[in-house]
């Protein structure tokens, strides 16, 4: 529906047309200065958000971010042959770092920098997820554009998308570098400082082997007998968070589509007022100028919706965060499950030992049956078996002890990080909502401005 709206609307980009008519040159100038102003507002709001977030991050413990200034400064297109020798175009991002102490001393050293692709960020994140299974690892910006309202480009190469991705990647690095646990990771440090050979270094850690087995296990369904209450609650919460943020993102997309249509149709007033003014004497000027304001009104929606994308990005971050929380809970469940399996195994082995030692078969077992049918085995065989069992039981007890410790440690660390996450989430989302409200206010002010201008023109009719 908005398709034909676009066709009908006046192409207000045609500056020459506007400049040609009397008294509208001022309007043209005013309009472009309004556009510049709104860009500034966009930048101001996104800067404010970052400043608040950075402030929050820096106050947390000792972390990399305190020692090093990190940013993802630029994005560039590259072409090259990929692993299977096919020519491809991709985007690289410039990661810049500067030592904090030098800055604090008032020097202004040039930053160290290196280029990274999105896939390298992904590799870093996967590595961190496997290495710290009980930590809610900050998410990356989306791989593909989702929840796109229809006029927005879903193309990964689109400059607006690339720009938003750059911001998202910087966000990711800042969050990781300010995390009390993650920021100490060596691979992270190398990611930021070692351009070549970093990937090989990461692979050499052998994390992928662990990754595969854990991932496979996670996708399997398993039942835990005595689940950790708080972590289960958290899992349910994360499901809710995921569902709410995705619902919100979908609804927002639909609203954006409709809002776009409403604004753009007003552009038609611009054209018809202009045509009408041609047949009027006294009313002509007023109508003509009013028409230009209607054009400006129609054009203003582009900036408004562009800015809202930043809000959508903040929601998307927490949509992904919900998934990360869920993963932590599930990983604990897996540990718990393995522990329960190990305990179960230990119990059955102990039972077997008892049976062997006393000859009494408490429960039905194939051994018991064969004993009855074919007679008991020779004492030497029985002893050998008993010894083996003792070994296995000793091992089993070790395993259970280890796994119990692991499980408890995991639960403790996970809970600590989840508490930290909850706090961060509340602050971030509250900030995001405030920003959204500011955007709405800005939209209202623009609307009032345009209609007041139009009213001035009408009064002069």
């Amino acid at each position: 529906m908005a398709e034909d709206v676009k066709e009908e609307s006046v192409t207000s980009n045609d500056e020459s047309d506007l400049a040609a008519s009397d008294g509208s040159l001022n309007n043209t100038l005013r309009r472009s200065s309004v556009a510049v102003m709104s860009q500034k507002v966009l930048t101001v709001i996104s800067i404010l958000t970052r400043v608040v977030m950075l402030g929050q991050m820096l106050t947390e413990g000792s972390c990399l971010l305190r020692r090093m200034e990190i940013s993802v400064a630029e994005a560039e297109k590259r072409s090259g042959k990929n692993a299977v020798s096919i020519q491809e175009t991709y985007t690289v991002y410039l990661v810049e770092t500067r030592p904090m102490d030098a800055i604090a001393e008032g020097h202004n050293p040039p930053p160290d920098s290196l280029w990274r692709r999105y896939s390298e960020f992904e590799l870093l994140r996967n590595y961190l997820i496997v290495t710290y299974p009980y930590i809610v690892v900050p998410p990356l910006p989306e791989k593909r554009a989702e929840f796109v309202w229809h006029k927005l480009s879903a193309d990964n190469m689109d400059p607006d998308f690339v720009e938003r991705r750059r911001i998202g990647l910087e966000n990711f690095l800042l969050r990781v570098a300010s995390h009390p646990v993650l920021s100490n990771n060596e691979m992270l440090y190398h990611f930021l400082t070692k351009e070549h050979g970093w990937k090989e270094m990461v692979y050499e850690t052998g994390f992928q082997a662990k990754a595969d087995s854990r991932l496979r296990a996670l996708s399997a369904t398993f039942r835990v007998r005595s689940p950790h209450k708080r972590l289960v609650e958290m899992k349910h919460y994360s499901d809710g968070l995921q569902s709410h943020t995705s619902q919100l993102l979908r609804a927002r997309t639909r609203v954006a589509d409709r809002l776009y249509a409403v604004y753009k149709v007003h552009g038609n007033y611009g054209r018809v007022f202009s045509e009408w003014s041609a047949i009027e004497k006294e009313m002509g000027d007023g109508l003509q100028s009013a028409g230009h304001h209607m054009d400006a009104y129609a054009a203003s929606v582009d900036d408004i919706l562009e800015e809202e994308e930043h809000y959508a990005d903040q929601l998307k971050e927490y949509l992904s965060y919900a998934e990360a929380v869920r993963a932590v809970c599930r990983k604990h469940e897996l540990s718990q499950f393995e522990l329960e399996m190990a305990s179960q195994d230990l119990i059955s082995k102990k039972q077997q030992r008892e049976e062997l030692a006393t000859g009494i078969v408490r429960t039905f077992s194939l051994k018991g049956m064969t004993n009855k049918l074919f007679g008991q085995e020779a004492p030497e065989q029985r002893d050998a078996k008993l010894n083996l069992l003792e070994e296995l039981i000793a091992e089993g007890e070790e395993t259970v002890k280890e796994k119990t410790a692991e499980c408890d440690e995991h639960a403790e660390k996970a809970w600590a990080d989840i508490v930290r996450f909850k706090d961060q989430k509340d602050k971030d989302l509250q900030e995001a909502l405030i920003n959204y409200a500011l955007m709405q206010i800005s939209m209202c002010k623009k609307g009032i401005q345009v209609w007041s201008n139009a009213k001035e023109c009408f009064l002069k009719m």
Partner: protein, 443 residues
């Protein structure tokens, strides 16, 4: 007209239809005072109109209160350009209000109160109050057209409505129609010639309007016969009337386009509203599963709801006040084009007769008959009347559209203001909360 036991509208549930404010009322948002806007002492209860006629909502004002209000009113611009007036103050004021439903065995219909205040000697009393129904207005209009064919008679709102499609007794429909009828009467009362028409006098004063419906029907037929008969071909239409015709054609076209655009906007706004409502509920639902974020999320949901309400008001206003006035003008233009056609006919008749008479004179020296001279007079009168009416119509059109478009701008501004206020109070709330949280953290 006999007024049966008046009953309030049973169908409309909400507010009493008698409480409907006049569309051009400045009751809610005070317009910046211009020469065409009435400033009245009791701003919220007595809204005014461009031509200074006060709209009565509750009790009819006494003549003295009316006069005092008149002193504040004034349309100096219009008076200055008025070729007919010599700067005289207006002396005939009419109002249409107070719709009431009448149910009889035969039919159900609505009547409106028509109030008149005047100092003219043509009227026996200074004040009148009668009840009229749409049929009566229609009768008046036909009579005016017939008796003053050389003048532009303002249009009435559409007569026929599809019974299944439109609820003829809904508050909205009745309100819109009433405003249009009020406007019609005011325009007639304003007209220097039409306002002295005896039919108008009868309409405004007679207890029972003796309409003789049959005659009205005949008259309508007669009119169309008048248009068709003659069959004279027009030689040369004077330039000014050509220009008028062209202007009307283009203007009508543009108004049609504006109407379509406005309707399109209404449709899009309605869809936007639907999505916006849904959007608000998602925030509410989410709030239910949060602790710290509950208040902020509820707050956002609340602001969205407020914006929805404001948008609804805007849309309602556009469909009830903006569009009907636009359509009325389109009808006005149609009737004006009719008058132009009549003028052409009269001129053609004259030219035809003249030509015939001249030929006969050449043949047998018969003098030009008196009828031909009378025709010439007719043409000249028609042209003069039409030109004068055209000027006044152009002036009124300018005022009407200035008001209409300014009103549209105001309603849009009001919508954004309401929304902005809601979001701003939310920001205050959230920022207070943030400082609260920070202080509780440090403690």
């Amino acid at each position: 007209m006999s007024v049966g036991a008046p009953r309030g509208l049973a169908s409309s549930g909400q507010k009493l239809i008698t409480e409907i404010l006049h569309p051009l009322s400045a009751a809610e948002e005070p317009l910046s005072p211009g020469p065409d806007v009435t400033i009245s002492a009791e701003k919220d209860k007595e809204p005014g109109l461009t031509n200074g006629t006060p709209v009565e909502i509750s009790s009819p004002a006494s003549a003295s209160v009316l006069l005092s209000r008149l002193q504040l009113d004034g349309d100096p611009e219009a008076d200055a350009h008025d070729p007919f007036g010599s700067g005289e103050p207006r002396d005939l004021f009419v109002t249409v209000d107070d719709p009431k439903k009448h149910v009889s065995t035969m039919e159900t219909y609505i009547t409106y109160r028509v109030s008149t205040k005047t100092t003219r000697i043509e009227f026996d009393l200074p004040e009148y109050s009668v009840r009229r129904r749409y049929q009566d207005f229609d009768w008046l209009r036909i009579k005016l057209e017939d008796s003053q064919p050389t003048h532009l008679v303002p249009p009435l709102p559409e007569k026929f409505v599809m019974k299944g499609v439109v609820d003829r007794f809904s508050e909205e429909f009745v309100g819109t129609r009433m405003k249009a009828l009020d406007k019609f009467l005011k325009r007639v009362a304003d007209h220097p010639v039409l306002s002295f028409n005896p039919h108008l006098n009868a309409f405004l004063t007679a207890k029972d309007l003796n309409k003789r419906q049959g005659l009205a029907l005949l008259t309508k037929v007669g009119e169309s016969v008048k248009n068709v008969a003659g069959g004279y071909k027009l030689r040369a239409r004077p330039v000014e009337f050509c220009a008028m015709g062209e202007y009307l054609d283009t203007f009508s076209q543009k108004l049609g386009t504006i109407d379509r655009i406005a309707q399109r906007i209404l449709r899009e706004q309605s869809e936007y509203l639907t999505e916006l409502r849904e959007y608000g509920t998602v925030y509410s639902t989410w709030a239910g599963s949060e602790e710290q974020l509950q208040r902020p999320l509820e707050g956002v949901a609340g602001c969205v709801t407020t914006s929805c309400g404001a948008l609804e008001d805007l849309s309602d206003n556009m469909s009830q006040d903006f569009l009907p006035v636009l359509r009325e003008y389109i009808l006005y233009i149609e009737s004006m084009k009719n008058v132009l056609r009549k003028r052409d006919q009269v001129q053609a008749e004259y030219e035809g007769r003249l030509e015939a008479a001249v030929l006969r004179k050449q043949e047998d020296r018969t003098p030009i008959p008196v009828e031909v001279e009378k025709c010439q007079d007719k043409v000249e009168c028609f042209n003069a009347d039409l030109k004068a009416d055209w000027e006044r119509w152009q002036r009124n059109k300018r005022q009407d559209f200035k008001q209409l478009l300014t009103g549209m701008a105001d309603k849009n501004i009001s919508y954004y203001e309401k929304s902005q206020a809601a979001w701003e109070s939310l920001i205050t709330l959230l920022q207070e909360k943030q400082t609260e949280d920070k202080t509780s953290e440090t403690n």
